[in-house]
Structure formats: structure tokens, C-alpha cells
Subunit: 184 residues, 2 copies
Amino acid sequence: MNEGYERKKQPELVRRTLIDCAARLATERGLQAVTVQAVADAAGVTKGGLFHHFPNKEKLIDAVLKDQIDKFDAAIEATLAHDGERYGCFTRAYVIATFSMAEFAPALESTCVALLTDPVARTHWSDWLRARLQRHHATDAAPELEIVRYAADGVWLADLQQLPADLRMDRDQLRTRLIGLATE
Amino acid sequence: MNEGYERKKQPELVRRTLIDCAARLATERGLQAVTVQAVADAAGVTKGGLFHHFPNKEKLIDAVLKDQIDKFDAAIEATLAHDGERYGCFTRAYVIATFSMAEFAPALESTCVALLTDPVARTHWSDWLRARLQRHHATDAAPELEIVRYAADGVWLADLQQLPADLRMDRDQLRTRLIGLATE
DNA sequence: TTAAACATACCGCGCGGTCGGTTTGTTAAC
DNA sequence: GTTAACAAACCGACCGCGCGGTATGTTTAA
């Protein structure tokens, strides 16, 4: 009847659950713990069920990585939309996105790095990185801004080490300083 | 005759070769390519021979990681020894070590991150990171210096992505700027 | 009735690891 | 100097397990 066919049950929801569970596993127990069986178990599905949604494991990993990238991109765009100033707007958005990702999705944060060891995933990752750098160059070309972006990446890297807070700079102060370095 | 017994052949050399080959494999083909068989083949030894030097794979990975950490520490100490100024000396050494590692051992550089996904290796890594941070706090406590260190980490992360140079800042200029930020 | 959305059972392969044997080098008795 | 004795260094064949993936059966919604 309807041209756009309606799905029965909720396959999209199961798909989402599988992606989230895979990301969670990669973060909490390392990439080696991300087996098809483990992901299926965590999602409350059998292995056969998982392979109904993803043709193979590689496609699942791809989906996880794409999901992470999309979230980060969305965070950047959301900030960019509310930034009136031109100079350093992308860098500021990048810094803010990095910090907000750490706050609102700490468990998912390190998934990307965990996936970096996978050659296939690494290709996709590089493609996205390249696109991001090109965009960064188009708007924020100043060397000072590039350094700020490097610092944000460093913070991101430090976050997923889960180091004790007393050994690190105050978080709000750190963010404020970085944003300040990307302003004016 | 001699109290300290002399070794026959050169087992230490084989051990070194195994570690280097494992690091090379992890860098060039990802951690998943670091199988006992592959490492043994690359080192010109059989699998049985490898297990004569390392009780299990975990100990081999541990040795690789320790080797990388030692190299980086040595680079830091070497620079520290020739730095007369007090303020920011550790940060400057950290920056220089990061850049020199990328230049002189580019193939080995990303090994550590590849190993970060391994839970066991990650523990050792965290221990070293903690010690490094404590030392950093003891000498270079200023927030400006901590940000420079974050930036160096970001550069390190960007290096192992092997992004095209035209999308990145000039390397010498970048290093000079970072060192400048850690001076005075 | 039909097809999507699963479950169940199974397979082949490659991995880490083991074990018995062989070579190589050192020591010491004679 | 010769040689027996011993241990380190290493090889090669093998094993069990867990993985990704498949083939087929079963349920559920339209």
C-alpha cells in the first residue's frame, strides 16, 4: 500500500543497539574483546541475528566508526551555528566539541582510537581527517589556530588514558584557555 | 672458571630482533597482524624458537612497549641534560623528543597507540604516563606549559595518521613555535 | 501467504601454545 | 688433547579453542 515500506518490529533499533554495544565493548575491554558473539550477547541477540543486520564484522565496525564521526561532526556544526565571529570559529567549535564529547559520551570516546589499529577502519578515519583538515584550512588558516587544534587532540588523547584528575589541569580552565587562544 | 657465566651464541640479539620485528609489524600492518608466527617469520626464527625467548605472547608485547617507552624517555633525558634554563625545560624536552621520534623512528612511532588497545599493555602505559605527569608537575607546573604538552601529543597523534604534508603546518615552524611557547 | 526478523546448529581456519627431539656450544674429568 | 656430560638454543609437528561466517529452521507481522 504505502510507497515507502514500513518495517515490522524495530530493526533500526536493534541496529543501533548493536552499534552502541560494539562501541561500548571496544572502549571498556579493548578492541580484541569486540567479537561478534560478545556484541550479539550484549545486545541481547544471537550471532545469527547480528549477521542479519550486518553482512560481516567489517561492516559493523565501519558503522561504529561512522557513528562516532557523525556525532563529533554534529557537535562541531551545532557550535558553528551559534558562533558569530569569523576568526577561529572552526577551531573554537573543535575545542568545544572535543570537551563536550568527553563529558557527555566518555565511554564512547576512545572507540575511534581503538579502531585505528584496524587497517580498514583506519582508511575511513583518514578520509574524514583529510576532509576535516581541508575545511579547517579554508576557515582557520593561522598557525596559532592549528596549534590549538593540536592541543585539543592532545586533550582528547589524554582523556582516554583516564588519568587521575589531580595530575591534570582544571578542565574548565583548560577549555577556557584553549578557546581564548583561538579568539581575536 | 668465571663466576658470571658467559653466554654462547647471541640470544640477546635474537631477542632484540624479535622485538623490532614485532614493532614493525604493529606499525605497518596493524596490531592484528602481530601474530606469533608472523613475528617469528620476520625475525628468521621458528615459532618454537620465539617461545624460547618469551614465555608467551603477552611478555613479547610487554617488551615491545617497554622498548618504545625507554626510547622516548632516553630522548627526553638527552635533551634535558643540555638545557640550562629551568623554566619549561621538561616541556621543551618533551616537544623535541616528540619531533625527533617522528623523524628518526617514524615506522616505530605508532606502535604504542596500536598497543593501547591491549588491556594489559595499557596498564603499563598508564603507569608510565602517570610517572611522566608527576615529573612534569614537579618542574613545569604552569598551565601554559601543560597546553604545550597537549599540543605535542596532538602532533604525535597527527603524525601517525600520515596525513599529506600540504594540509599541515610546516614542521620546523611548528616545532619552533611550540618550543617558543615553552620558553621564558 | 509471504517475507522479514530472528534463532539454532554447525563448519573451517588460524591462532596461541605445547612437546619431544636435535643441534650447538661449554665445561670438566682423564 | 680428547671426550664424555650437560645445558642452552632452536626446530617441527601437533593440539585445542575460539573466532568469523554459513545453512537452515522457526517465529512474527503485514
